[in-house]
Structure formats: C-alpha cells, structure tokens
C-alpha cells in the first residue's frame, strides 16, 4: 500500500487510488523495426532490486499518468514527475546521486 504524490493534482494518493502501469521510459518501435528491437520494446523489462522508474496512473483521482522513481528494495520514493518526458528530469537525478550514489538503470546512470 504505497503512497505516491500525484504531480498533477498535487495530492498524496494511496495505492488504492492508483493504477500501476509498468516500466517507464520505453521507446516505442513500430513497423519497420527489427525483430530484436520490437521484442525488447514489447516484452523485455527491468526487474531491479533497487532504483526503478515506473509509470502510474491516478486512476481513481485526476486520471493522469505520471512517473515515479523509487527503490523496489526499501520502498523509498525518490520522487514523482511528469509522464511527458523520455527520461528522468534533472531534479530526480540529483536526488538519486545523493541517495544512491553509483545508481544505474538500463543505460541511465
């Protein structure tokens, strides 16, 4: 029963208000892409013990999608941010550098 801050409507929402949407920052591959690229996009997911980036929807609230950076191990939430970005914003990276020096995730660090 996590609590995440919805960056759109500004409230701390309990998990029952939220809908989990899996991994964040996937790059879509469509027609013309290689089998490997398409497989990676459609099926291959990170399953880290530690820093992770996820998509959430404030389903029983404002209905907006947002992103969360959190630790799957300690359940610490580093921050939530707009879903309309292809990578974590600078302020989230700063928090991670401080709290989890040396963190890596896919090709981010």
């Amino acid at each position: 029963m996590l609590i995440l801050h919805c960056p759109y409507c500004g409230i701390d929402a309990e998990e029952t208000e939220l809908h989990a949407g899996g991994e964040a920052h996937l790059t879509r591959f469509g027609p013309g892409s290689s089998d490997d690229d398409f497989e990676g996009y459609l099926f291959m997911r990170e399953n880290p013990r530690g820093v992770h980036f996820e998509r959430w929807r404030h389903a029983n609230g404002c209905g907006k999608w947002f992103h969360a950076a959190r630790c799957t191990n300690t359940l610490e939430v580093f921050g939530t941010y707009s879903a309309q970005t292809t990578e974590p914003p600078e302020e989230i990276r700063k928090i991670l550098a401080k709290k989890r020096p040396g963190w890596t995730w896919r090709d981010l660090k």
Partner: protein
C-alpha cells in the same frame, strides 16, 4: 483434576455465573472467564484432537498462541470454526464443540494413526501417494481430503447474519500492544502532542505485569496500569481500543487492525468485527513475548502446559489445571509459577531445572518455600493417556535413563521466551540472534523503511528483547519518545517510571530434553502441536536434504497450521540447525506473514456485501425492463436484459419469440450501455488512425465506419462503429464492457506517447440513451413519429443525421448489428425513457417487441458478425477472423501493426474463422474442440479447431456456430468432428461460410 479455587481470580466476577455448553454438555463459568479457563474450572482438560494422529490434546497456553484448544463456535448461520478457546471470552449461552474427531472427542477412531506414526513420517503423503498416478485423483485425494482439516467450513448456502465494517484512521504514532511498555510508549508519545492510537488485542490492559508481579513507581503494577490508562483516556490526542489486534503492517505505514466488538456479548447491537485501516507516520510494536515449550517425550499429553499459562489460570481466573504440578524449566521465570501455585495452596512435587547450576533469587525463594528443586535434570518422558499421570526424571546431559518417577497431573514447562517479532517483520524488518537470551529480536539497524527512506516501525519492551518489568517500561518510554520525535513532535523531558522486579539468572538454551534423547523419545517429542510435527520429523527432513528452513517447513508442515507456529518455530529451527550442525542465525527463520492471528472474512469484506458489494450501473430505461420481465445478465457493471420473459414462457422460448418478432416486423433494443467516446481536436484523425486498424481520418462527415482496435501486441481488443461528426470531431462506439477501458487506453497513449498531439477525449457513454429500432417496419415507425427524413435516399446505410423524432432531439445512425433495416437512435439520457415509451406505444401496430442480449447475439451470429469476447479471447488477431478488409494497407502504422508482422502471427497454420453446421441440425457445445488424428506428448487428442459461438437459430430452425479451424476457409464443405463435454462423444459438422442469413446484405440496405 483441574478445578476452580474457592477464592481468587483477578479477572472473574464470581457474582455473575455464566452457563455454556461444550459438545452439548452443560457447564458453568463466570463473567471474565475465557472459554479455556471455564472448561478447566469444570475439569474439562481434553479440548481437541490433533490434526494428523488424532491424539488427545488439552489446552497448552492462555493466549493467542494456543495451538490445541480450537473449537467450533455457534450453530447454523453463525457457525465459526477454529476459534481459540483461550481468546474466546465466555458469555451466557455460549455453545462450543470440539473438532477433528469421529465419532467423539473421548473416543476417536482416527487415533489409530498415532500407533501407525512410525509409518507416517514427514513427507509421507508425498512419498506414498505419487504412484500409481491415476489413483491420486479418484482414490487417494478424496480419502485424504475427508480425513484432513481441522474445523468444518460453514455451509456455503448459508449467509452470515452478522454485520461488519471498515474504519479509517490516520495517526502520528500507532502503538500496538497495551502491556506496560505499550502503555508507557503511548503516554510518552501522547505527552509530546502526537496524535496517538493505542490498540490491545485482549480485553484487559497491562499484559503480563499483573500476573508476574514487581512494582512500578512504588505501586503494584495493576494500580499503575489503571492510572496510566485513565490518563491516556483523558488525553484528547490519544485514542485507546481494547479487543483490537494489530493484524498486519504494510508498506508506507499502512496497518490493519482487527477489532472484535460483539464476540464476547452477542446480544449487543452493531457490527461484529471492525477492520481498522490505519495510516501511521510511526508505528511502535509492543507485542510482548511468547513462552517456548520444551521438547521432551510426551510433551503433548493433556496436562503439559506452558508455565506462564498455568500461572495465568491461577492468578487471573482462580483456576488450577491440576493438584500436583511439576515445573520443568531452563530459566528463572518458571519459578514464579511454582511460587504462585504454592501460594494458592497447591502441591509442587518438584522443580526440574535443566541448568547445571540452577537459577538465582527466584530459585532461592522456591527453596525457602520448601519446594524441592532438582538442577541439571530433565524429563525423559511424560506418562499418561488423556491426562498426565507422572513424569520420568532423568539427567539432562544423559540419554534418558530414569532416575525417579514423580506422580503429578500437570507439567508446567518453560523453554524461555521469544519476542513477538511478527509485526516488525511483516514489512521487511530484519532480526538478529541474541545469543545470551537465546532468541531472535528486532535489529534496529535494519528496520522497515517508508517513502522517505527512514524507519517507520520501532519495537518496545519484551518484543524488543528487553525482558522484565524494569527494562520493559524504560524501553517503552524511550521508544515512545523517539517515535513522537520521528513523527515531528518534541518529546517532554520526563523521567520514565521506575520499576522493580526480581533479578533473573541467565537461561541455558535447551532444544532437546534430555540432550541425548533416544530415537524413541525423539519420536514422541512434539514441536508443532497443531500439525503434529515432532523432533524426529525435522531431523528426518534434514537427513533427506531439506536444508533450507523454508523447505523443511513445507516438507514437515512445521508452523503451517492456523497458529502459524507461534510456539513451534524457534524450537523447530533450533532442531534443524542442530541436525545440520549450523548456528541458528545461519539457518534463519521462515517468513512472518500477516495476519498475526486469523481474522474473519466478514471483517475483510466489511460493508461490501449484498446490494452494496458493487455499484450497479443502470440505463435510463432500466426500470422499464425491471417491471417488464427482464431476465438480467451482468455485462461489466451494467445489468442488461438477457430477454423479456412473459408469463408461462421459458427463457429459450422468449429469445426465439423476440428474434422472430424482430425479423418479421419490429424489435427494440436498449443499447444505451454501448460506449460512446468523443474524440476531438486538430490531430484527432491522425490519432484515430493509430487507434484503429482502419483509416478513420478519411471518413467523410456524416458517415459511419465499423472499426477494429488492437493492442500493441496485435490482438483484437475492441470493435465498434465510428461516426464523423464534424471536421475535427469523431464519435467512437465501443463494446458495453469496453467503454471505460478503451477511454483509458486512448488517454494512456495520448498522455504517455503522443503528448504533443492536440486531441481531447470525453467518455460520453452515460450522456445518451441509445435505442436500436430494428426490423422491416423500423422506418415506418420513425416516419410515424415524424420530425426528420429517414428515407433510404436521405439517410442511407452507414450514415447518420441529427434531427428530432416525435419532438425529441435525436441523432440517428443507420447501422445494423442484426442484418435487418435498423436505426440506432441516441437521445439525451433524460429523454431516454420518454423516447422508449413513445416507441413502444407508437410501434404497437407493428407488434414492437423489446429484445435482450441473447436475441442480439443470435441475430449477429446468423449474420456472421464477430463478438469481442466470443470470437476473441486476447490471443486472436483480425487476420484470424477474416477481417483483412478492415486493416488499412495505406497506413504506415497503427497499434498492433508491427506485432501482426511477427512470424507466429503470419503463420498460415493459425486457426481461421468459419461457420459450422451440424449434420443433424443440433447445437454444438460452446467451446468444443475439433479432434484431429493422433495424440500429443501428453497423450491427449490432437485438435484442429474450436467453437467460439454456438446457438439455435429460430430463423433457420437449426444449430449454427462459428469457430476457428485449421486452414478453415480453404476447407469449405468438409466434415469434421467436435468432441462433446463428456470428452468422448463426437458431433460431426460441416465447414460453411459464417454468414448464415442474408449473405448479400439486402435486408439491412433497404
């Protein structure tokens, strides 16, 4: 014999006698008794039979950890199995029965298992019943299921007459456990100004302190407890609740509390149980400790009890479990039991202390009372059947040679104490092994952490490994202050209360008694009473290679019963670590999972039952349906009429009548539940081209187009008719169950992938009532209503128009899901009922007949139209259904296009949609498989297709079906065999076109 003393019992009220029954026999107890204390007071030591060997079992404990005294409570609709007699408060009229025996508690046929125990070792069922395989399903499993299980579940047809509710609470500091440490922690946090909730699972406060003695700030513990509780109750920022258990601790400070409101007083009004859903910034668990049994032969014979429990029964209830009590211990605390018995005037023939040098001040006190103390000794075995008759004393260091037989009827045992670390562990708190005190205690450096990365659970008192009154109260004060500080408050600089209790000498861990016990003795030394696991079983598991504690647990079932191993876990893993020659911390513990003790399903459900279990969505015409014979069918959250049954008519007949009336003249369908999503904006056309497999951007204004939606993995997810309303607005119809899901699907792509596209979506499903007017006389009815031109020329097939009909504003779509001349008419929701009534009234001359979802299904199947959820199941692509015409070849991209190019999707051997007609006109079973030659690797018949929809068609007077068949479209006219539900009988069917009715489409296009 066990009996009630003439005086004493701090919790009972002797002026209030309470009559109750056990197995139909009448007994008497007092207000304040538990069922267990009342039974003991009436010399009913035998309370149950064990799970595997059906051994006679008496009560062992006095609290939530009780493994043996499980009973059925109540009768009929209020029946509840597996209630612990030790936590069941007595009330007048209580009716309990014992469990797991046949024919009676006193004489149980299943007890023969105890003599077969040599042949029923750990893993017996796994080893014995694996061969021959077919016997498992028909012989072994039914037999084992019959003889297994503790209580009986209530009859599934009965309904629980009680009510339940949920409570929500948000606090700064939650304190779980109302012993002295918990009380002091709550006081310290409350004094700091924090909003505090203090919960205690029992009806009484103060935990063990009133029984164990000592003094707090110069007062008796009971006086201090009363004073502190009154102070807490007077504080506006503090809430206290007894009979409320902390059931589980979850992520980010979420806690479930379980309050039992009327279990002890069934005549009271209101809910029976209440589930507290608590969010706390900081949680203090002050859950105390549980005494451990000792492992010696015969330690499960009725009369062998925990030393602390014997003391509880004497002090709290004025009940003595027997006349002569032998105390056996490895620590000082158990001496308190001997002293309490002595003070009550009872005989204590001996204290058998396994420690070579015995104990300290408490041992001296016992000796001063004239009690015989034997040090360095143990119990070789307990003699007795349904009751202890004597113990064989031996040297603890030896192998069990008897030194002396000591007659007695109670054995009070103590193997030391284990902190209750369950709640700490639920959300990831780690443990550390305390070598000196021989128990696991919370490791404060590895606490459960919250959203901010800081610890949100702390532990106080004996749960934290601080045993004894003085240490416990100090710890409670410190932890309460620290929790308030973590929650953002400033604790006061007050001094903790000063408590005094006797110093205790160190214990010596004893995991087996005697140390070198022979195989025979070990095979009678119980670890887990409830699941009948013995020392020899765990040792066998270790020999057979089950080295992980989690594997050993599952192999032997140690700790897997309803008590979740509260007494057995530590002894079990110490036994395992000895067998593996490893240190206890290396072996580790099994995982502690919520709830702490079982909670009722009713409490979990709360108010959500019956009519309020789930909200029902109603169309504006719902009430009309209800008063006109609707046979309801749930569709999503809606209820839709399956058909409208007339008096004396079967459901089947009603469906056929509705179809015939529609095809012959005029039918009406309430289609309001269809999803209606408005998609608007400069990029709306581009967006819909991605959402649908068809091209939607080129749809002319005023026209309709049937569209398919796929998910990104290529599979069909929804379908419906799209209408273009104006230059930048489209109206997308979805399936009834799909409206919210498809709206969410659109929003997801708009918000997370194409967020720079200018598109706005609105789910307008409930803004309109929509009615399908269907049949050869449909146009005549609309013309009669008047207001707009609905002629073939002005409003041809697959177009729409706005206007009025009978004075009501309407949007009319010329679309057909039945193959007939058909108009779907959307009117504002608040006009829906009026419009429906008008259609029924004005359509009477054409026998206007309302029809339900089954007629809709049959008519669409007669036309070969697919239905999402029938022809599709999440693994079907449009190409499987012959819908190539709906896949745009002009578009570079749409959701699912890339996936549909994957090798398995383009495999020519994917099953394809065809129609199916049985040779004799009968109806194929829905879902039946078509058999192919040969068998697969599992020996099952090979298959070459399956039925996806199957109906009796009244129009054609025969069974019609659709199905997916290997190379189906190339095999028209071929006869294949389908297998009926019995798995053997074959039905032959011809492969035909899926369009059974009006293949040229002449009827809908008039």
């Amino acid at each position: 014999m066990s009996t009630r003393l003439a005086t004493g019992g701090r919790l009972i009220d002797r002026s209030k006698a309470q009559a109750f029954t056990f197995n139909g026999k009448r007994f008497k107890g007092y207000a304040g008794d538990t069922l267990a204390s009342a039974l003991l007071g009436e010399d009913q030591m035998l309370m149950g039979r064990s799970f595997k060997y059906h051994r006679p079992r008496g009560v062992v404990a006095s609290g939530a950890e009780e493994p043996n005294a499980l009973v059925n409570l109540g009768k009929g609709t209020a029946h509840e199995p597996n209630a612990r007699a030790t936590t069941t408060e007595l009330f007048d009229g209580l009716a309990a029965t014992s469990q797991n025996h046949w024919p009676s508690l006193e004489f149980d046929v299943g007890a023969v298992n105890t003599h077969l125990s040599r042949f029923l070792p750990a893993g017996f069922y796994y080893k014995m019943f694996i061969h021959p395989r077919p016997l498992w399903k028909h012989v072994y499993e039914p037999f084992i299921r019959q003889s297994a299980g503790l209580g009986r579940a209530p009859d599934p047809e009965t309904r629980d007459p009680d009510t339940y509710e949920h409570f929500y609470a948000f606090v700064d500091v939650l304190v779980i456990g109302g012993g002295v440490a918990g009380l002091q922690a709550a006081k310290a946090a409350g004094d700091a100004g924090a909003k505090v909730l203090l919960i205690e699972q029992n009806a009484h406060w103060g935990g063990r302190a009133p029984v164990d003695g000592g003094s707090i700030d110069g007062q008796a513990p009971e006086a201090w407890i009363d004073e502190t509780l009154s102070a807490l109750q007077a504080m506006p920022n503090v809430t206290v609740r007894s009979r409320t258990m902390g059931a589980g601790v979850y992520d980010h400070g979420y806690v479930l509390g379980y309050e039992r409101l009327t279990d002890h007083a069934p005549q009271m009004d209101g809910p029976r149980h209440r589930l507290w859903r608590i969010r706390a910034a900081q949680i203090v668990t002050a859950t105390g400790a549980i005494e451990r049994p000792l492992s010696f032969a015969g330690n499960d014979i009725p009369g062998v009890m925990l030393a602390s429990a014997v003391r509880d029964y004497v002090v709290n209830y004025g009940v003595v479990p027997g006349d002569r009590t032998v105390v056996v211990t490895n620590n000082d605390d158990a001496y308190r039991t001997a002293l309490a018995l002595k003070a009550a005037g009872l005989a204590v023939p001996a204290i058998i202390d396994a420690r070579p040098n015995g104990g300290g001040a408490l041992m001296q006190a016992a000796r001063d009372q004239g009690i015989r103390v034997e040090v360095g000794r143990g119990i070789a075995k307990v003699k007795g059947g349904k009751r202890v008759s004597s113990v064989y004393m031996c040297d603890q260091a030896g192998s069990g040679a008897m030194l002396e037989e000591i007659p007695c009827d109670v054995v009070a045992m103590s193997g030391g104490w284990s902190p209750v670390v369950h709640l700490w562990s639920h959300c990831g708190g780690k443990l550390t092994w305390d070598d000196e005190q021989a128990f696991f205690r919370p490791d404060a450096d590895r606490a459960p952490t919250g959203a901010d990365g800081a610890a949100f659970v702390s532990v106080a008192g004996s749960a934290n490994g601080h045993m004894g009154l003085a240490q416990g109260i100090l710890d409670g004060d410190a932890v309460g202050k620290a929790a308030a500080k973590m929650a953002g408050f400033k604790p006061k600089r007050t001094k903790a209360p000063e408590a005094v209790s006797e110093d205790e000498a160190a214990l010596v861990p004893v995991w087996l008694m005697p140390q070198g016990a022979s195989r025979d003795l070990r095979a009678k030394a119980w670890l887990d009473y409830q699941n009948d696991v013995k020392v020899s079983d765990v040792q066998l598991a270790a020999r057979e290679g089950f080295e992980s504690v989690e594997h050993t647990k599952r192999y032997t079932t140690l700790g897997m019963a309803t008590d979740q191993g509260k007494l057995s876990n530590i002894n079990g893993l110490a036994t395992l670590s000895n067998a593996l020659n490893e240190a206890i911390p290396q072996v580790g513990t099994t995982t502690f999972r919520p709830p702490y003790t079982p909670i009722s399903m009713g409490a979990i459900g709360g108010e959500a039952r019956g009519d309020v279990f789930q909200p029902i969505r109603r169309t504006p015409i719902h009430e009309w349906h209800e008063t006109n014979g609707a046979h309801w069918e749930p569709v999503g959250h809606w209820r839709r009429p399956y058909c409208f049954q007339r008096a004396g008519e079967s459901v089947h007949d009603a469906v056929n009548r509705e179809i015939k009336a529609t095809r012959d003249s005029l039918g009406l369908l309430d289609a309001s539940t269809l999803g209606k999503i408005i998609v608007k904006g400069p990029d709306a056309g581009r967006f819909l081209d991605m959402m649908y497999t068809n091209m939607m951007s080129t749809l002319p204004i005023g026209k309709c187009r049937y569209g398919l939606m796929c998910t990104e993995n290529g599979f069909l997810t929804d379908d419906g008719v799209v209408a273009r309303l104006d230059e930048d607005t489209w109206l997308c119809h979805t399936t009834t169950g799909g409206a919210d899901r498809i709206h969410g699907h659109m929003e997801e792509w708009l918000q997370t992938e194409w967020w720079d596209w200018k598109v706005w979506t609105v789910n307008a499903t409930e803004q309109y009532a929509q009615i399908a007017v269907v049949g050869p006389n449909a146009r005549k009815l609309l013309e009669k209503l008047g207001g707009m031109d609905v002629s073939k020329e002005t409003l041809p097939f697959m177009q729409w128009a706005d206007g009025t009909l009978g004075g009501i504003q309407a949007r009319v779509f010329r679309i057909s899901f039945s193959g007939e001349l058909s108009y779907e008419i959307a009117v504002p929701a608040n006009q829906g009922r009026a419009f429906w009534d008008m259609l029924m009234e004005q359509g009477a001359e054409w026998n206007a007949t309302p029809y339900g979802t089954e007629a809709l299904h049959v008519m669409r199947a007669e036309k070969g139209f697919i239905m999402i959820g029938d022809e599709t199941d999440g693994t079907i692509i449009p190409q499987d259904l012959g819908l190539h015409w709906a896949l745009s070849k002009k578009k570079e991209d749409y959701l699912g296009k890339r996936a549909q190019q994957r090798s398995h999707m383009t495999d020519p051997n994917r099953w394809q949609l065809v129609g199916l007609e049985t040779l004799d006109g009968s109806v194929l079973p829905d879902g039946a498989y078509a058999a192919a030659d040969g068998t697969n690797d599992n020996g099952q018949r090979n298959t070459q297709g399956r039925v996806t929809s199957s109906y009796y068609s009244p129009t054609l007077d025969k069974g019609i079906a659709m199905g997916l068949v290997l190379n189906g479209p190339d095999r028209m006219g071929e006869v294949i065999s389908f297998i009926k539900e019995d798995g053997e009988t074959e039905m032959k069917a011809t492969i035909v076109s899926p369009v059974f009715y009006d293949p040229e489409g002449e009827k809908q296009n008039v």
